[in-house]
Point group: C2
Chain length 158, copies 2
């Protein structure tokens, strides 16, 4: 299957919320997202990695003005589930390389990350799907990053 990179997408309407130190046991993620759903907050990306010593972090992104509200409604949940803290961060953007056939081409992710590194841009979070590799970066880096990725993948003109 050939890789076809369709383009680069930049989403500046992003802010992130991280609940740090959640216990890794059934029911925790359910409480977090039930609280967010009840507050009618739309979620974009959700990221949870493996736990260490029984604890992990859950992060998710929301619209750029929603993170404060999300963190506020989660305060009581942080207490209930025995998590460490919840933090809201603005000033971020989501940068995605969009294409088909990426799953069978690990070189695409490597090239994207190498391009960001060569441009001096730090990757805050990574999330992938069959058709997209997305990273969370600083909002201030978004334009520079998109241009560098465009050039690296020969997308100019798209």
């Amino acid at each position: 299957e050939d890789v076809v990179i369709r383009g680069v997408a930049v989403d500046k309407n992003q802010a992130k919320v991280t609940i740090a130190g959640v216990p890794d046991k059934p029911g925790i993620a359910a409480q977090v997202f039930k609280t967010i759903a009840d507050a009618n907050i739309n979620i974009d990306v959700i990221v949870q990695n493996v736990s260490e010593k029984g604890f992990t972090d859950i992060s998710f992104t929301v619209g750029s003005t929603e993170a404060g509200k999300a963190a506020k409604v989660l305060q009581p949940v942080v207490k209930n589930i025995g998590a460490r803290e919840v933090t809201a961060t603005e000033g971020i953007a989501k940068l995605s390389v969009v294409g088909i056939g990426m799953r069978s081409h690990p070189g695409v992710a490597a090239k994207m990350f190498e391009t960001l590194a060569a441009t001096g841009i730090n990757i805050g979070m990574i999330s992938t799907s069959e058709i997209k590799i997305s990273v969370i970066i600083a909002l201030a880096d978004a334009e520079k990053a998109a241009r560098a990725i465009h050039d690296a993948f020969g997308l100019s003109g798209k």
Copy 2:
């Protein structure tokens, strides 16, 4: 936009690799995935959450027989970048709820996670896209989880 849940997908051809304690600075993810690309290992999901005190973990999933090889080729990188360790884990499965309009319906994620909790299933990793919410769970839980999600979303017969 209405939510349309199309179905539940179970992928049992999964194993995960975690590089724990990587420094959060430009170029690190590039080195990891360049090494994996050079070894011709196909990657499925990549997950990296925010760093704490300057370090974070990077996890990715591969075919169920590839994790050992991936961890082996990453050993030198772990040393080079000053990470703590790399581990390979088999016996996992990826369970996804597939649908459209999910981004604007945080209730879908909540319902999926609540169903898994009610079935006593622990969520190991979470990754999302516009059309999918995926969790990594124990392989032994996959069938039970898929049935419970089917019922909860009224998908029987699909």
